[in-house]
Assembly symmetry: C2
Homo-oligomer: 358 residues x 2
């Protein structure tokens, strides 16, 4: 979650400003209600309003999978890449994984008492929301590295799963794994049904997202690319080999890193990509769209303050610091012919649990 650009100042100011201390309640783990629903019509995108966005997605899939089309793409090259936060699920008021890491500071401080007197951990432990809100992205990054290190990969997995089963989003009082966008689940399923292999490319940690990507999105762990720390090969007390998470950054999957690392890990320029954030997805969407033949770059615009959140500052929407969409990126999208997706206008419903949602 590092930013190198001018957005950083904005982020520092507001990133944690709406931090909620989350209650620990039992909750169903990894609800798949949205996934389990089967379409009862022939409409592959029933949660989309009829309009240019829906038409463009269907046209793209149709023309790239119809063998008689001049834009036909062989199955092996049907690669689609999806940002997660703000594209597949809610990223406000704070990236879910950052909430997890802030929750972990208390646990880690018990194991390592020396952290209690060290910034930024002292501030987090103080519970002083105003002070926490002033933490820099560098601070947040250090918190992520420290709280996700020092354990085996198996222990980390178990901790993430336990947290996901109990943590709830402050606004909807539901597990984070229910706050996925129903229209995007339909895009994932529709593309897979047409031979596309779907990948997540996230600024978050691969190891975090992989714990729920398959049941929630239908995307297996091996198709999740994220920011990631290093793993160290070693042995436990019984001399069994183990992999331990280290507090060292190996892959930074933000900004240009998101497309550089996609090439590193998978060796493809995707045919389609979806994203929403200037700090995260701009190069990915630009690079995908610049490929030969038919390419689809989709930009999800958060312009629905009632049903979800509204933020920009593109289109005059408020700049809230998380998942910022700059006017410059929006202008690039328009100029290069990316698909603009308005949550307010293009999505009939946002979540599967909405009242009245079928």
């Amino acid at each position: 979650m590092k930013r190198n650009d001018a957005q950083s100042d904005i982020d520092r100011r507001t990133l944690i400003s709406t931090l909620a201390v989350l209650p620990t309640l039992s909750a169903p783990f990894l609800s798949v209600s949205a996934q389990a629903q089967t379409a009862t019509t022939n409409d592959p995108l029933p949660s989309w309003n009829d309009g240019p966005a829906k038409q463009a997605i269907i046209a793209f899939v149709t023309e790239t999978t119809d063998q008689s089309s001049p834009r036909f793409v062989p199955p092996a090259r049907r690669i689609a890449e999806f940002d997660q936060d703000g594209t597949l699920w809610v990223e406000h008021p704070l990236y879910t994984q950052v909430v997890y890491c802030l929750d972990r500071v208390g646990v880690v401080a018990k194991e390592k008492p020396e952290l209690k007197d060290r910034e930024p951990f002292r501030t987090v432990l103080s519970g002083d929301r105003e002070a926490i809100a002033k933490l820099s992205m560098k601070d947040i990054f250090e918190i992520v590295l420290v709280t996700q290190s020092g354990m085996t990969v198996e222990d980390f997995r178990a901790d993430v799963r336990n947290w996901l089963a109990t943590a709830k989003h402050p606004r909807w009082n539901r597990p984070y794994t229910e706050l996925v966008y129903q229209p995007m689940l339909e895009v994932l399923r529709y593309m897979r049904a047409n031979g596309y292999k779907t990948f997540i490319a996230t600024g978050g940690s691969s190891g975090f997202v992989r714990e729920y990507s398959d049941p929630i999105y239908g995307i297996p762990p091996e198709q999740v690319a994220g920011t990631e720390q290093s793993f160290k090969y070693g042995y436990d007390r019984e001399q069994r080999p183990i992999l331990t998470r280290e507090p060292k950054l190996v892959l930074n999957n933000m900004e240009a890193g998101k497309i550089e690392n996609f090439w590193l890990m998978y060796g493809h320029r995707p045919r389609a990509a979806f994203g929403n954030s200037s700090s995260d997805d701009q190069q990915m969407l630009e690079y995908v769209k610049a490929g030969r033949d038919s390419r689809l770059s989709g930009l999800v615009v958060h312009d629905d303050a009632t049903r979800e959140y509204a933020y920009g500052p593109a289109l005059g929407l408020p700049d809230t610091g998380v998942g910022t969409l700059s006017q410059a990126m929006y202008d690039m999208a328009t100029k290069q012919g990316w698909l603009i997706i308005s949550m307010k206008n293009d999505w009939k419903r946002i979540f599967s649990f909405e009242p009245g949602a079928s």
Copy 2:
């Protein structure tokens, strides 16, 4: 192809000692004759002699895919990892990719004349085989980084494909892509037919192997993990976004790195792994075998000097410096119950083109 251990001295001595300057001849690109053959019997491994190795592979696949078996593995966890050099294709007298990089030194030196006076490039350009044979692994690594950098990812791909279409192995006078082990192609197909997802984990560069992994092994680019350099996002003269290969190592996929990076890229401890070399595959095979439930770690032993090559020094075989199998690793394999695969005894034929091969 870096080594950190005591093998380095051996390698330095002998790695390039049998280097052949390869003729540039037209040749069929990416022959798939081996792949195209279909089994005419119900035997999934027709190129294997009946014996404990063949039985163990079939027993493993059967018990992990039979739903009534206590060792049943759900499809999503059927992950199998294969080393390439010496496990799926010939690695002697020299790793194929190193031959490619040495061939490229002349091309690169034309673009960058300053290399002509710089070691180790001066030695390679001299054509002095004795001097080339004395190059260290560090030298080789520098040659790999420099010769595979400075171009776009697309230009690199085109160059690799062109080289593969013309280069021939000095012993068999055939394209390198024909020198794949028919018994291992059968294992790949057999495992995939039973729901296993197959991956390559190579000490070579992902970008090199990905150019032929699908037609030769049936493994798509996104399932090839290798050593890799960084990619830099930028723009060409027409302001189109490009990715350029940089001479900077990001992932070292040798030794422990081979299993650390597998976790980094795919988030799995594989259920099965196959390898052959102490410098490359020991930790991968140890870690896979140490997993819970049924796991298969297969060690390919090069003990057939007549049909392929014989090298060790395990089992008293000669130490030739490429793909070394140490006695310590062989003892570990025996102690931990890895599957020992003797090319001489377990393989009915090695290549699809062998006289008499069906």
